[in-house]
């Protein structure tokens, strides 16, 4: 499936993007020969037949794991390899935090349905869910700058993913955390509410189940019975949903990356399209396909872990 999707994207990309456009309007204008000379070695010239271009690209991927170069000659492999980790650093932490927070809040509010804690929790989540990421991020940046000024030193960095001149193991980690905290907070704030609502409603379906009553009749307190017996069954759909959102959050954090100045996959995606970088676009599509496959696999693993009945049959 991944191979088919990637190849399809290759042809679609050629249908929409034309690297030649990058040289239109240059001063002084480049001649036709010059443009072809620039593009041909990069396998991007439309003077060669599409089938031949495709084969050059595809054989490169298969035999040398070479995903081609951009119109200016940067290696797509290098770009993806670097940006992938930047994105992972940003997105994985935020996803895990948002999921844990969402589930915890879901359990907490579901056990107190229609009480004051539930109402406050719900109201807060409705608000945060509707905050635009730009607003959230800028608000956090302002707060952080205010805090930095107050203590008189830079505790939070508001741009970039790392400082260039830090060495040593611990200094690098601390520096990374200083950069990471703000965008992570921004992503968690807008991301947790979905999980919260899903977990709350699923748990409420199970909370009055007979087996939860049996568990309480055994001598478990209400809280224990909910956490042990009701949560396990209601976690299954939540886990599936979270696993399938992984590709979306990886590629979708474009605004966050732009605001905080991180060079992640989301920004790369925009740049490749803007610069008619066909090889980059295709590589990103392939990356997305792989992530989807990983998400599906994780979802299956989660279901098997949570529901032993699947293991049995």
């Amino acid at each position: 499936m991944i191979v088919v999707a990637t190849n399809l994207t290759y042809f679609l990309a050629w249908g929409f993007l034309d690297p030649r456009n990058n040289y239109v309007g240059r001063r002084p204008p480049l001649s036709e020969d010059q443009v072809v000379q620039l593009l041909q070695p990069r396998n991007l010239s439309d003077t060669v037949s599409l089938l031949e271009r495709w084969w050059n690209w595809f054989s490169g991927v298969i035999f040398r794991w070479d995903w081609g170069v951009s119109p200016v000659g940067q290696s797509v492999n290098d770009q993806v390899a670097y940006r992938m980790w930047v994105s992972a650093e940003l997105v994985l932490g935020a996803t895990i935090l948002a999921t844990v927070l969402g589930i915890a809040l879901g359990v907490y509010t579901a056990s107190r349905q229609y009480k004051i804690a539930d109402r406050i929790g719900q109201a807060t989540s409705i608000i945060t869910m509707n905050i635009n990421i730009v607003v959230a991020a800028l608000g956090i940046v302002l707060l952080a700058i205010g805090f930095n000024n107050m203590v008189g030193t830079t505790v939070f960095f508001v741009t970039g993913s790392a400082s260039p001149d830090v060495t040593g193991f611990f200094p690098i980690i601390i520096d990374a955390l200083q950069h990471l905290i703000l965008p992570t907070v921004a992503l968690v704030i807008i991301g947790y509410a979905g999980t919260h609502f899903l977990q709350r409603s699923l748990l409420l379906d199970n909370i009055n189940a007979d087996y939860v009553r049996t568990a309480r009749a055994k001598g478990l307190t209400k809280g224990q019975a909910i956490r042990k017996h009701a949560l396990r069954t209601s976690l299954i759909p939540v886990a599936t949903q979270v696993a399938f959102t992984i590709p979306t959050v990886f590629m979708g954090a474009i605004l966050t990356e732009s605001i905080f100045g991180w060079n992640g996959m989301g920004r790369y995606f925009l740049e490749t399209i803007a610069k008619n970088d066909i090889h980059g676009t295709v590589a990103i599509a392939a990356f997305g396909a792989v992530l989807t496959a990983i998400g599906a696999l994780l979802a299956d693993i989660a279901v098997v872990v949570l529901d032993p009945r699947v293991r049995v049959s």
């Binding site: 087996y211 009553r213 009749a217 001598g219 478990l220 307190t221 396990r232 069954t233 009945r309």
Partner: protein
């Protein structure tokens, strides 16, 4: 005089609802001593389950409880959830109604059992495991070691209820509350479970509260009985006293409404008219007065208290009825019955002998097999499930044929085969003389369907909630192309026939009670003037007092319209009351077939004998003295293709046979043999 183990004083429970505060329990008091069994009887909504949950402290937090519950010297009301959880499952255990949903599906049986043990005491893993295995053995699960790792979905209902009982027994409780523990189970399994609860009681010396709607179960198990109505106890007495010297009209009605499996005479059942009141803003009057045939004006002015009506000889007996002193034994008042017997409509066909009546439905050698598949992508056929293995019967005009058997025996599949007009490979289904094999095309099929209609088990689920009653009843008429004006008059006619007010025809099903909905279902089935009505457990979802009314209606309609019924039920008392002929089904085949009196008076096949002996009879004297045959194990798998008698693995007769006869049971399928009105499929009967 020892102190009671549990003492409930003036317990009141109310909870908010959309229409107002529901007073679910309105003042109940009782004492229970160790080792005794208290039966709480009542219909749905009478507050019996709410009482038990209040004692367990398992009610929602928005519920208001007042009064006092003292258990083992401690006051339970007002304790926090944490304090209560130390008592629950330890001194106080509960068995729930539905074993299918009362175990967590994602944890193994062993884990759930061990949890019940370790939550109250520190136990090493090994000790907890050993004790859990021991418990499973006590409740009679085969291979307990292996079963520990099984999950609930691998178990049958009866086995799951055994696990629930094992969990309840885990910490040797002083009080076991059983909330309708056998309602969801087959009679043979019910007998096993009741015996098991009795065993658990004798082993732990616990007191038991047995909550049920089944008077037979009460007669079998209880020492004292509390009858509840509209959230209040209306009669409280020792079990013999209650059954033989009933003083409250509601209890009399409840006892009179039950069909008896041990009585042949066909007098109509005595239904209690009307429905229980809604428990919102009840006026200060006897809540039963509107349904009571002997109500006088004084009944409507004040709610009667529960007063002692017993005498020195017979001990305590409390009843809440101002006329209870006028009522004498046997449910009589001034020498007449409290509940007058309804009129019996004379059967039009009563004089015509069976042979002379036309056959309305005939089934010849019906079989049905389901393939057993395995594999996710490439399905391989592993074998076949023989759901029905060659059954034959016929029903004549004005006759009721009943098929009885445990769940999974193939009753419902038989009905579906008939209703789907499935062409048989090596047999035939004839409806009014027309073979389903000859039915070609939609028109012929529709014509044939006019003659056969079905009434379903669940009156709530079988009616479309978004159609008015008139639409529901008229739908079959429209399907066969009746004109609108014609169908409207027919709807009114039908509603009148089943005892509903025709002016209510523009209401939606949700406005009707369960019994009324079942009447709507019957009216719909009768719309096309069918010859045969198929009834799939038509009364099993209804309360006893309502059930009697629907059974009487069915009897009356049969007499008036000369209908034939094919009746499927697991409740043999109902079958005995309504049926003329009966077939006992086991694993897809009839093991005994004949006229109803022959089979109930003189059961031949060991399975029929066991089935009949498993039904509790609502009379403590008979119930506690008769011998019973308790079957071991569950229904065997229908995939077995071994050539012998399918019942041999559970048969009580098989066990006492000499080896050469046993070999015959295992090697040769017994055919149905005997005279027309009583045939059985056993080699040795």
């Amino acid at each position: 005089m020892t102190n009671p183990l549990l003492s409930v004083r003036d317990l009141k429970v109310s909870f908010p609802s959309e229409t107002g505060t529901v007073d679910a329990v309105r003042g109940i008091s009782f004492d229970l001593k160790a080792g005794r069994t208290l039966g709480i009887v009542g219909e749905s909504g009478s507050g019996k389950s709410v009482t038990s949950l209040a004692i367990m402290g398992l009610l929602d937090e928005n519920v208001r409880i007042s009064g006092s519950i003292t258990f083992d010297g401690q006051e339970l009301l007002g304790k926090s959830d944490k304090q209560l959880s130390a008592i629950r499952g330890n001194g106080l255990a509960m068995i729930f109604q539905d074993p299918l949903s009362s175990l967590t599906p994602v944890f193994s049986i062993g884990d759930q059992l061990i949890e019940a043990l370790t939550v109250h005491r520190k136990l090493s893993k090994r000790a907890a495991w050993a004790r859990a295995v021991e418990l499973l053995e006590t409740v009679g699960l085969p291979n307990p070691e292996r079963r520990m790792k099984s999950f609930p979905h691998e178990f049958s209902g009866g086995m799951r209820q055994r696990v629930v009982i094992a969990i309840a027994m885990a910490n040797k409780p002083k009080l076991i509350i059983a909330d309708e523990p056998t309602t969801a189970l087959d009679v043979t399994i019910q007998a096993q479970i009741l015996d098991l609860i009795a065993k658990a009681q004798s082993e732990t010396g616990a007191a038991v509260i047995m909550i049920t709607h089944d008077m037979g179960v009460v007669a079998k198990t209880a020492d004292d009985v509390l009858v509840m109505y509209a959230g209040r106890p209306v009669e409280k007495a020792p079990v013999h006293e209650l059954f033989h010297r009933t003083r409250m009209p509601y209890s009399i009605g409840l006892l009179g409404a039950i069909p008896r499996v041990d009585k042949a005479e066909k007098q109509p059942l005595v239904p209690v008219k009307g429905n229980p009141p809604l428990l919102i803003n009840l006026p200060d009057a006897c809540p039963f007065a509107s349904r009571c045939p002997i109500a006088i004006d004084a009944c409507h002015t004040r709610e009667p208290d529960l007063v002692d009506v017993g005498n020195e000889k017979m001990g305590e007996h409390h009843a809440a009825c101002i006329r209870s002193h006028e009522i004498t034994d046997g449910g009589l008042i001034d020498g007449r019955r409290v509940f007058p017997l309804p009129d019996v409509s004379e059967r039009a066909l009563a004089g015509v002998p069976r042979e002379d009546r036309p056959v309305t439905l005939e089934v010849r050698n019906m079989t049905k097999t389901f393939p057993l598949m395995k594999g996710a992508f490439l399905k391989r056929k592993l074998g076949e499930v023989h759901a029905i293995r060659g059954i034959s019967f016929d029903i004549r005009e004005g006759e009721t044929m009943a098929i009885v058997g445990e769940s999974g025996c193939g009753k419902t599949t038989t009905l579906l085969q008939i209703m789907d007009l499935v062409e048989q490979v090596d047999g035939d289904i004839l409806i009014g003389g027309t073979s389903v094999a000859d039915v070609r095309g939609g028109h012929a099929e529709r014509t044939l369907r006019r003659d056969i209609q079905i009434v379903f088990q669940d009156p709530m689920g079988a009616l479309d909630p978004r159609m008015t009653v008139a639409d529901i009843i008229a739908e079959p008429l429209r399907a066969i192309g009746t004109k609108k004006a014609e169908s409207e008059t027919r709807v009114d006619e039908l509603m009148d026939l089943v005892g509903l007010d025709p002016s209510h025809s523009n209401r939606f099903p949700s406005a009707f009670s369960g019994g009324q909905r079942q009447r709507i279902g019957i009216a719909r089935a009768l719309a096309t003037n069918p010859k045969v009505v198929v009834l799939d457990e038509p009364v099993s979802a209804l309360d006893v007092s309502i059930q009697a009314g629907v059974i009487n209606l069915l009897d009356e309609l049969k007499a008036k319209l000369g209908l034939s019924y094919l009746f499927v039920a697991h409740d043999l008392s109902v079958v005995r009351h309504i049926a003329d002929r009966v077939a006992v089904m086991y694993l897809g085949a009839f093991v005994e077939q004949g006229s109803v009196n022959e089979i109930f008076e003189d059961p031949q096949h060991p399975y029929t004998q066991a089935l009949l002996s498993a039904i509790p009879i609502p009379d403590p004297d008979i119930e506690r003295t008769r011998e019973r045959i308790v079957l071991t194990g569950d229904l065997a798998s229908a995939t077995d293709q071994s050539g012998g008698c399918s019942f041999a693995s559970r048969c009580q007769l098989f066990k006492v046979l000499p080896p050469e006869d046993q070999a015959r049971c295992l090697g040769e399928v017994p055919p149905l043999t005997g005279p027309e009105n009583h045939r059985n499929a056993c080699h040795f009967r």
